[in-house]
Structures are given as C-alpha cells and as structure tokens.
C-alpha cells in the first residue's frame, strides 16, 4: 500500500511570516496520478520537496503507506524524484546516471545492468547509453532522469515540472509517454506543474494550490465543471473564463445585458448582493446586436478548428464588465473595459469592428459570491 498522506503539513521559509505551505491536507491513493498545479510561488514544489524529505515539515505530518515519514531522511522513504532540470551528473555517462542510485545502495552489478538495460529500452535510450548528458538533446536528458527514477522501483514517484524545459511539441509527446508509463507501472505519482493543460490531461485527480493553500482537489471534469472558487475557475481552462459583475435580488441575478435565475440554495449561501458570474468562452451564443450583452468585436483569433473572438462591451467607465481573474477575488476595476472571450465555430464570418449581441447559456453559468469568492452550489 503506497498511499501518500499529508495532514496539516505546513512549511515556513526563513524570515517569512506567511507559510509557503499552509496546513495542507491531501491524500494520494495507491497507484493514483495526482497533479499539483498552481501559479509560481503557490507552494506546489515545496509540497513535493516535503514529501521527498528535502524540506523539513514545520507542522503536521506526512505518511507514505502507513509509515509516518515526517522525520525520515529521503533515502528511507522509498521514493524517486525527477527534478525540473533533471539533476543529471555531467561527468557520468547515461548508463552510470541511470544506475547511480542502485550503485550507491550497493546493489549487485548484474541487477544494475539488467535494470538499466530495461529502462533504456523502455525509454528509447539504448543507443546513447555511453554518452554524457552534455551530448544529449533536452528530450533525451529528460528521459534519462525518468530512467534513473524508474530503476529504483520506488513506492512513490515525485515529478517536479519535468516538462517545463522542453519545447511545445516535445512536451505534448512526452506528456503521453509519462502518463502511459505511469499506468503501466501503477506507481503512486505526485506530479507538479504550473501548466493547467498538463494537469487536466494527465491527472487522475488535480489539486489546485494558491498562496500555500489547497483550493480544490478533484477529478479534472469536476474541477472544470464545478470549480469551488473564483481562483480555480479562472486558473483552469484556456482561454480563461469570463467573469462579470452582477447583482442579486430575490431569485434573479442581473448582469449587464442578461438575467439568470438564482436557486433557493444559492440565495441562502449568498452573503451580500454582489455576485460574480462566470461564463466560459464556450458558454455564449453570438447573435444580432441588441440580444444579450452588447459587444464589439476587437480581435478575431482563427485557429481553424475553432475561432475565438475577443469583444469589448458597450458601456462607459462606470459599468465595468469583467473582473480581473488573476486576483481570484473581485477587485476594483481600473475602469478599462476588458474583453469578453467567446468561442465560435472555426472559419465563422466574424470581423473586427462588428457589433454583436452575446447571449449567455444559463445552464453553463457559474455564480460566485463576490465577497467570499466561493461558488454558489445549486
């Protein structure tokens, strides 16, 4: 049983009053691929390093399986880690790099050779076994780092942004390889990234962090369809969700150019009358001006399969439309109209300057309490 459990795990950095990781409760099931995602500085790498034993745990505890490993050094935790910059030993060959951990543990030479060959074949490194890291491409180096982790046959894999140094195409390729490998080995894996696409495509579950605090831990569909707060809603999904200020009265939410129904459950959890309405780009229908929200098309992004139109809304500085999503919580608008992002069919005949009416799909609308940032459950 190789579960990873963090209970109230907290980490302070020297001289800082706010913890880098704040009372984190997380459980990774045996064989699960859990992705830790969040913006830079959110504490995801620190969390990973705490699990690895490279950072001390100031409060709370960490358990692997049913062993409490909080005070155990990394070597006793039976983990393997792939670093962001691979941490390959520049003076050793690929073969020696892969076998390094086993060599340190004084495993028999035959075993080391066998496992190294196996890993090399799996990762397509057999031809470069006698080269040094400096002579390898970025993708090959990444695979060597993976190989070194694999031969350990650990209970837990820890991966720290392993794809961030690769170019875009290679990243997509390697993504599927890593996911396939993990499924084959069925090893519990904790994977850190700042790329939400990686998170959504690779993880069995995704844990979103911000400012050291866990925001939500759920399956990708759940995170996408039922984000627990403004931050998660705006972090996940690309292009980002559109957030609009609205106000609630009785059972209606009035937005700039549309109205939505407010259920009793939602109304009761509301702490005020300010509501933020979240509508993803695909939750709009584009129609004639005068229907829905009045908007003017500023930019048309043609991707072939899809088209994204960025619209500015008609209205002066005193009825701002969208809220700054990067803050996660509603903030005072600067008065500049922000574009609404709408997805339409590829090759649609929209043009810059065109005036349109945008109708939101009420079934796909997310309602958030403007004061707490929490989503209102219906």
């Amino acid at each position: 049983m190789a579960t990873v459990t963090l209970k109230g795990a907290t980490r302070f950095y020297a001289g800082q009053h706010t913890p880098a990781v704040d009372a984190l409760d997380l459980e990774v099931a045996d064989g699960e691929f859990l992705v830790l995602v969040g913006p830079s500085g959110c504490g995801k790498s620190t969390t990973l390093r705490m699990v690895a034993g490279l950072e001390g745990v100031d409060e709370g505890g960490i358990a692997i399986g049913d062993r409490d490993v909080t005070d155990l050094p990394p070597k006793d935790r039976d983990i393997a880690m792939v670093f962001q910059n691979y941490a390959l030993y520049p003076h050793m060959t690929v073969r020696e790099n892969i076998g390094f951990h086993l060599r340190i543990r004084r495993e028999p030479k035959a075993l080391i050779a066998e496992r190294t060959a196996e890993a090399a074949q799996l990762l397509d490194l057999t031809e470069v076994l006698d080269r040094k890291p400096a002579q390898l491409s970025g993708g090959q180096r990444q695979r060597v780092a993976m190989g070194r982790a694999i031969v350990r046959r650990p209970q837990v894999f820890l991966l720290d942004e392993p794809l961030s140094n690769l170019d875009a195409k290679l990243r997509v390729q390697t993504r599927t390889q890593i996911a396939a490998l993990q499924r084959e080995f069925a090893v519990t894996t904790l994977y850190v990234t700042h790329d939400q696409v990686e998170a959504m495509t690779m993880g069995d579950r995704v844990a979103v962090m911000n400012g050291g605090v866990l925001q939500q831990c759920a399956t990708p569909p759940e995170i996408f369809a039922r984000p627990v707060n403004l931050f998660v809603a705006s972090f996940i999904g690309s292009p980002a969700i559109n957030l609009l200020n609205a106000s609630a009265a009785d059972d209606t939410v009035r937005g700039p150019g549309f109205e939505l129904r407010l259920t009793r459950a939602q109304a009761s959890s509301l702490t005020g009358t300010d509501v933020v309405v979240g509508l993803r780009p695909e939750a709009w229908t584009v129609g004639e001006p005068g229907t829905g929200v009045d908007a003017t098309i500023e930019v048309v992004e043609e991707l072939g399969s899809d088209q994204y139109i960025y619209c500015s809304t008609v209205g002066g500085a005193d009825d701002p439309i969208a809220v700054d999503p990067s803050l996660g919580m509603p903030a005072a608008d600067t008065g500049l109209p922000r574009p609404l992002t709408v997805r339409t069919q590829g090759m649609a005949p929209y043009a810059r300057g065109q005036r349109v009416g945008l109708r939101p799909d009420s079934a796909s609308a997310h309602l958030f309490d403007a004061n707490t940032g929490l989503r209102l459950e219906d």
Partner: protein, 300 residues
C-alpha cells in the same frame, strides 16, 4: 476543501530537512578544528602586534601578555622608531611604496592592451602567443637570475632601482596577461561592435569602452601585483646593494642577521610588523577584490 483560515503563527526558524547531518559527530569535530585553526591564526597576529611593542624579555617570557615596559617608560613606539630610523625601514618604506606603486601600475598599463589584443582581436596565432606569455609564469626566478645579473652588470644596472623596476614589470607580465586575457574574454562583444558602428577607432573603443568595463579586472590585477611585489625579496637581494636603495623586504633580510647578533629582537619584530601590517590593512579593505580576482582565474 479550501483552508482559508488566516491562522496567526509565530515565525520561527524552519526545521532543517530530516536526516541532514548538520550537527553529526564528524561535522562537530571538523568545525572545532576549523575554529581552532582560525583562533590560532588570530592569536599569532595578536602576538605579532603585541610583540612589536615589547622588550626582548617580554617577547619571550610573557608572549601573551600586553606590552608594559616601553609603555611605562613613556616610549611605546621604541621598537618601531628603532626599525624606522636605525635599521633604515623608514627610508625603505618610502622606496617600496614608490617602486611597487610604479611597477604595479606599469604592469597593468602594459599588460592590459596586450591582453585585450590577444583575446579580442582575433589575430591569427593569438592562441599560441597567449600561451607563450602564460608559460612565463612557470619559470622560476632563480633560473634567469644569472643571465640577468650578468647583463645588468654590463650596463651598470646591478644596483639600480630603475633596473629593479624594469625587472618587476617584465616578470609580472605573464601572470597579469594571463589573468586579464581571461577577464577580457568574458566581456560581451556587442559593445565593441556598437562602438565600431558609431565610428570609433579601435584605440578609442579600447580606451572608452573596454577599459571601463574591465575596471574590476584591472583593479584586481593591480592589487595582486602590488602585493606580490611588496613581498618580493630575491630580486631585491640580488639587484640592490646599497642600503639607501633597499626595499622593505630587502631591508628586513639584511636586518635579520644584524639583529640576531645584537639581540635586537624588539626592533626586528617591529620590522616584521612594518612589512606585514600595511598588507593587512590593504587586505582588510580589499579582501573581497583579492579573493574574487583569484577565483576568477581559477574558474578558467
């Protein structure tokens, strides 16, 4: 699943990673040895400074105590005055400052253009030529002493500060050129190209653009050469015969024999202090430069 509680926690020293041997037994012993060694060095320094104010008896019989005798007699600087006047250290000090200053500046003045030309102008054969300079570092002075001495005696420069000056400059060139080529090589090329596009002549480019950029390296070369020449003794012994022309280390060398004979230990240790303390002062002021410059070379 959100934990938005703004808990008030006292900041404290974060725990080190588990299992780190920050204070394991081997490390403790190692740290103790290091501190001991350091304390030992400081002790010796204290001993030197204190001894330079003591009488011979105090030096040997109360090495750790504070100087007393001369202070009581109201003549605390007696040893220094003796060294300065009787043993000629005062004069030697002036000579050394001038000689070393002139030589160090000259070496850098001659070596910097050469280093620049060798590292940046891409002339064919610059590699071998640079190596040619560099291997000069490996030639022990003792090897060239006789030919130089003979040559100098033919042109009557065997007792001349000017002759010594020339030797100091020439023999410091290998190291200086070596240090500065490495340094120049690490500077960005864009500025030179920009200067050329702006119409600056190559000499102008060197003086106005490269030299200011290389300031750090030049100062480091200056300091390291100054220290080395301040301490240089062999050439001074061979090429200076008149007391009036002695450098400090030369004077110390000669004084040593005389002082032993006269048991003039106080003056002798004061002489040592006069040679050492200026370097100490310069070192305290410029330690980072000196150490930084050397590690720069080591990185090549």
């Amino acid at each position: 699943m959100t934990a938005q509680t703004p808990a008030r926690r006292a900041p404290r020293r974060p725990k080190p990673p588990p299992g780190s041997r920050r204070y394991g037994p081997v490390r403790i012993v190692g740290m103790a040895v290091v501190w001991l060694f350091t304390a030992f060095n400081l002790l010796l320094l204290y001993w030197l400074v204190a001894a330079s104010f003591k009488t011979p008896i105090e030096i040997f019989q109360q090495p750790f105590g504070l100087p007393l005798h001369w202070f009581q007699l109201g003549n605390p600087m007696r040893n220094y005055l003796y060294a300065w006047n009787e043993a000629g250290f005062g004069h030697a000090f002036v000579v050394t400052v001038l000689l070393v200053g002139a030589a160090a500046v000259s070496v850098v003045a001659v070596g910097a253009p050469a280093a620049y030309a060798l590292s940046r102008l891409g002339v064919r054969g610059h590699g071998p030529l640079t190596s040619f300079f560099a291997i000069g570092m490996g030639v022990p002075f003792q090897t060239v002493i006789i030919p130089l001495f003979v040559a100098f005696s033919k042109i009557d420069l065997t007792n001349s500060l000017f002759g010594l000056y020339l030797l100091y400059v020439a023999l410091s060139l290998p190291f200086t050129v070596f240090l500065l080529t490495g340094f120049f090589r690490s500077l960005p090329t864009e500025l030179e190209e920009q200067a050329a596009i702006d119409g600056a002549s190559p000499v102008r480019t060197f003086v106005r653009v490269m030299l200011p950029l290389a300031q750090g390296g030049l100062v480091t070369a200056l300091i390291i050469n100054a220290i080395g020449l301040w301490n240089e003794t062999l050439l001074a012994i061979v090429f200076l015969q008149e007391n009036a022309k002695f450098t400090l280390s030369r004077a110390l060398f000669t004084f040593y024999g005389a002082a032993q004979y006269q048991s003039e230990y106080g003056g002798l240790i004061a002489g040592v202090a006069i040679v050492v303390l200026p370097m100490l002062v310069m070192y305290i002021v410029l330690a980072r430069r000196i150490i930084g410059g050397l590690t720069l070379g080591a990185g090549k």
